[in-house]
């Protein structure tokens, strides 16, 4: 770590003081209309404003669910830049590009600023009183089972409050939806290790074999894994960790691999079994299972050369411990669960469980633990909606109209609910279909607590606190809205809490002892909590309980080529865009995709061999047709993809949301077939088959790389050498 002690102390000095100020003023939660504020000269402004001097507050990044802690730089009451909070064991002071861009979410000109009530095609701005009244009115007489809630990952006290509200309504229909979540891997892990997400120790592994787990870009907790990766590459005593990535479409992690294997789509499990076979150290059931997976067959099925299988087996045998990861490339098939199980089996065979796969810690407050999202829930919700089961639908900041496969006809299903309330930041595709839109505070204006899904060294509760005053007078925090709603139902129980801040503070103080503040008085505890931004806890760690269970593990033979739709569509998740909720942040749009360097648009990745076969060159607009529909987009000829697959990133192709998102690119969900993973019911994202037809149009691809692409043309610019020519132990 570069951060010296000096730096840290400096930080804390400011933070301790800043946190106190926040506590006193309740920044962001008193409004001028309340009459609680006094007019003062700017030179004697609020405690947290010193003209010309930056102050720093700690909070939590909400751009994804990894739960990185952030430190916001605030000048003159405006948040300017976010850095990672060095105290957090998750991101240790680092922050990814997506996190950096969240200030653009906060300052976004396209945010919803008033509660909007649908009047025909228009939204009419109404007051919050009216909005709450309307909700109360619409809920009257509606039975609990006729009310549904859809949210993304939710944790902490917002989750508690949401649960309380649902209880008060008598609704049990909480659908937690995440378009790109490792739900199949969670299920396979549960089966194999007894926990959904063990603690992966990439930093302890000498070899990492990843089946499409993009842990550097998009998978679970990328900033944390990237730091582990850095340690893994440095290695111990100069022995550098080796990364092998097997997937059909190169991810950011694949691009950093020592050996990248282009696997025929869907055969990841076969490769895993083939490697077990080649290792030759398995016994019993496992040996029985893999005995048919000899090199020749595996090589034929997966397209991986036999010599590579040998080399991988050799290095896995030689260097222990290793770590094998199953990622989205493995799980996105009908037999995704089988793939993931076969891959997890490798960890058992190699003896990694307990060494690089450790038992995870969990937060000692189960009510705060995250509800983990998946796509099966959306399928269920959609079926229910289509069946007309719900009269009222609360959508809390998700955008299923954009991310549901077109075949769901989610918009139509949703229309069957009588009253749809959307808690929204933007008027995105889903919010546009709502009857009532409630504008949310940005994460830099809101209070909250978050428990990350993936915990690292310690259990922790992340604090989210406002970094500045509300930008728009009429937005509200999610907690505030839920509190107001729950008060409608149970006014007596919640009357002690003026606002969500009060609720949150009260809830935290109540558990002061358990949160490590037993000897502090309330104010000190609260101020310390805010200034730290994190509450570290010693949570129970759930022991790994699974075993190498091969019962029912049966992998299908590789799919025969479909004559009409010969190519696999891989709807890829990229590190910039994720599921498209950040597309309206211009830094994200202009940040080149790491692998293709394309900006502001969608593209279709196609292997050069395939492109040559079809007579396609870069920039050709092609029509991609699946059984569900078709879209047209530009081709990017990309060597890092299996020739039988094409790939379109998700996240672009918005038809609403804002000026930076709308009209840029295409949305692969609109042609995705409704095929599901057989065990978990998750949407199988890689099971759509497509064909490609040239349209005859050609465009210049808007990208950062030059006309020679990634070639150096003899210049000595990016230099590479192999491990036998280097002595890392001499390095600093």
């Amino acid at each position: 770590m570069i951060d010296s002690e000096f730096d840290r102390r400096d930080f804390l000095k400011v933070l301790g003081w800043g946190g106190a100020a926040v506590a006193l003023s309740g920044c962001g939660n008193t409004s001028i209309e309340d009459g609680k504020e006094t007019i003062v000269s700017y030179v004697q402004a609020k405690d947290y404003v010193i003209p010309g001097v930056a102050v720093y507050f700690n909070s939590t990044c909400a751009q994804c669910d990894a739960g990185c802690s952030i430190t916001g730089k605030i000048r003159e009451g405006r948040v300017l830049k976010l850095e990672g909070n060095p105290e957090s064991p998750i991101n240790k002071g680092r922050l990814c590009g997506l996190g950096q861009a969240s200030v653009q979410h906060h300052y976004n000109p396209d945010r919803v600023r008033e509660p909007l009530l649908r009047q025909g095609d228009k939204g009419e701005a109404i007051s919050w009183e009216k909005a709450y009244g309307l909700i109360n009115e619409k809920l009257s007489g509606v039975k609990g089972e006729e009310i549904a809630f859809i949210t993304g990952d939710v944790s902490g006290h917002q989750k508690v409050l949401l649960g309380n509200y649902m209880d008060s309504l008598g609704s049990k229909n909480h659908f937690v939806y995440e378009a790109a979540a490792p739900a199949v891997v969670r299920a396979a892990n549960l089966k194999a290790y007894g926990v959904e997400m063990p603690r992966y120790r990439i930093d302890k592994a000498k070899v990492v074999l990843s089946f499409g787990a993009d842990f550097l870009g998009t998978w679970v907790s990328p900033v944390h894994f990237a730091q582990q990766y850095a340690a893994f590459r440095k290695g111990v005593d100069g022995q550098r960790g080796v990364l092998i990535q097997a997937e059909s479409k190169m991810t950011l992690t694949g691009a950093n691999a020592d050996r990248w294997l282009a696997v025929r789509p869907g055969t990841e499990g076969i490769l895993a079994l083939g490697i077990i076979n080649a290792l030759g150290i398995a016994t019993g059931d496992v040996a029985q299972l893999v005995k048919d997976y000899d090199k020749a067959r595996v090589s034929r099925d997966t397209g991986v050369e036999p010599s590579h299988i040998d080399k991988i087996a050799a290095i896995l045998r030689l260097r222990s411990p290793s770590l094998v990861l199953a990622g989205s490339a493995a799980e996105g098939y009908v037999h995704g669960m089988q793939n993931a199980e076969a891959i997890n089996l490798l960890n058992y065979v190699l003896g990694n469980v307990g060494k690089t796969i450790e038992s995870p810690v969990s937060v000692p407050f189960p009510q705060l633990a995250p509800s983990k999202g998946n796509t099966a829930s959306l399928k269920r919700l959609n079926d229910d909606l289509a069946a007309g089961k719900y009269k009222v639908l609360f959508n809390i900041a998700t955008n299923p109209v954009f991310t549901a496969p077109a075949s769901y006809k989610f918009g139509d299903s949703m229309a069957k609910a009588g009253f749809k309330v959307a808690f929204a930041h933007y008027l995105d595709e889903t919010a546009l279909q709502a009857d009532l839109v409630l504008p949310l505070d940005s994460e830099m204006e809101d209070w909250g607590t978050h428990v990350p899904e993936y915990l690292t060294e310690t259990a922790q509760i992340n604090i989210q606190q406002p970094l500045m005053e509300r930008l728009h007078a009429n937005t509200r925090g999610m907690g505030d809205i839920l509190l107001a709603l729950v008060k409608q139902r149970k006014p007596e129980e919640y009357k002690a809490f003026d606002d969500y801040y009060g609720y949150l503070r009260g809830a935290m103080l109540q558990n002061k002892g358990a949160l490590g503040g037993a000897e502090k008085d309330d104010d000190n505890f609260w101020n310390d909590t805010l200034s730290n931004g994190i509450v570290k806890l010693s949570g129970p760690s759930s022991a790994l309980s699974g075993k190498a269970d091969v019962a029912g593990l049966k992998l299908p033979a590789p799919r025969e080529a479909d004559k009409e739709y010969p190519l696999r569509l891989i709807a890829s998740v990229t590190s910039n865009l994720r599921d498209g909720r950040h597309t309206n942040q211009p830094w994200i749009q202009e940040s080149p995709d790491p692998l293709t360097t394309i900006v502001w648009d969608s593209w279709i990745e196609m292997h050069p061999k395939k492109a040559a076969e079809l007579g396609i060159v870069e920039g050709d607009i092609v029509k991609v047709t699946s059984r569900t529909g078709s879209i047209s987009a530009q081709v990017y000829v990309f060597p890092g993809i299996h020739p039988e697959a094409v790939s379109i990133p998700i996240g672009r192709g918005h038809e609403a949301m804002g000026r930076y998102a709308k009209g840029y690119g295409v949305n692969p969900f609109s042609i995705m077939d409704s095929v599901f993973e057989s065990t978990t019911g998750e949407l199988a994202m890689h099971e759509t088959n497509v064909n490609i037809a040239k349209t005859g149009q050609r465009v210049i691809v808007v990208k950062d790389e030059g006309p020679v692409g990634g070639k150096q043309m003899g210049a000595r610019i990016a230099v590479s050498r192999s491990t036998d020519q280097v002595d890392l132990s001499k390095e600093v």
Binding site: N91, A230, W587, K730
Partner: protein, 284 residues
């Protein structure tokens, strides 16, 4: 102005190379970037946008090559004709190399780009008249010209988005050249604080925005004349000498097992950024 002044200065500053005498006292800011650690995630580039008020030019202007990313991540493939890039890609963050003998400095007609005593290549925006000669002469092409007046261009900083602008950094209008500054606003603040306390800036006291965000710690930045600094140690360990256009270790028979190098070093630009070669496992 006086003749004595003239003669004094003439005698004193007639050095041919800034590192031949002692202008780098007490600071010489330098960087080293480990390409083996760099994963190409773009966090540094976005952090640079946030810190340095870089405009988002939009799709059309990006297509016209008018993008303003001071830091760009380049993605290279191995150049042999294998079917797949089966050793992955190589990512390279490229920004102003703060050359010691910068080709851009000498050609500026108005002296808007100069060398500083602490070894930076500084751009004076309000002196710049936009001849663009500096960019023409930059081998790395890391200088970016304001082709339009971005502050007044639609949707670059629309209302509220402009609140994010960093008041420590100038917002550049049309017609001036700009480039990576090594976050000079942070350096100055640290230097001034340290001066007030009668010491020099300590290692780790100041970070550039890109370095601070980097998840893999691939970027180190610091004072190259401070033996305590990580950058100094890295340069030393890699036997890369700032003042040489060809390193001793590279002249050895059979090369060395050190991986420090500077890009286009043979052009005698004496860059202040050392890269460490990417490594790939030979056993797989």
């Amino acid at each position: 102005m006086s003749v004595t002044n003239l003669l004094d200065n003439w005698a004193e500053v007639r050095h041919f190379h800034p590192i031949d005498d002692k202008p780098h006292d007490p600071y010489k800011w330098a960087m080293s970037i480990d390409l083996d650690a760099c994963i190409g995630c773009n966090a540094c580039a976005v952090a640079c946008y946030a810190e340095n008020n870089l405009p988002v030019v939009g799709r059309e202007k990006f297509q016209h090559g008018q993008v303003m990313h001071w830091m760009r991540i380049e993605r290279y493939w191995n150049e042999d004709d294998r079917e797949f890039p089966d050793q992955g890609a190589e990512f390279l963050p490229m920004m102003c190399q703060q050359c010691e003998a910068a080709p851009c400095e000498t050609v500026c007609p108005v002296g808007a780009t100069n060398h500083t005593q602490d070894g930076l290549n500084s751009q004076i925006y309000n002196r710049c008249i936009g001849s663009r000669y500096c960019s023409a002469n930059c081998p790395y092409k890391v200088r970016y010209f304001n082709w339009y007046d971005y502050p007044t261009t639609d949707n670059v900083w629309p209302a509220e988005m402009n609140y994010q602008l960093n008041p420590d950094v100038t917002v550049r209008g049309k017609g001036v050249m700009e480039k990576c500054t090594f976050c000079v606003q942070r350096l100055r603040a640290a230097e001034v604080t340290a001066k007030g306390e009668g010491r020099i800036v300590r290692e780790g006291e100041v970070q550039t925005a890109c370095q601070q965000s980097c998840p893999t710690n691939a970027i180190s930045f610091g004072n190259l004349v401070d033996p305590e600094s990580r950058v100094y140690k890295q340069w030393k360990a890699q036997q890369v000498d700032l003042a040489k256009d060809e390193q001793e270790k590279d002249k050895q028979e059979g090369g060395s097992d050190l991986r420090g190098y500077r890009i286009l070093e043979d052009l005698r630009t004496y860059p202040s950024v050392m890269y460490l070669e990417r490594v790939r496992e030979s056993a797989v």
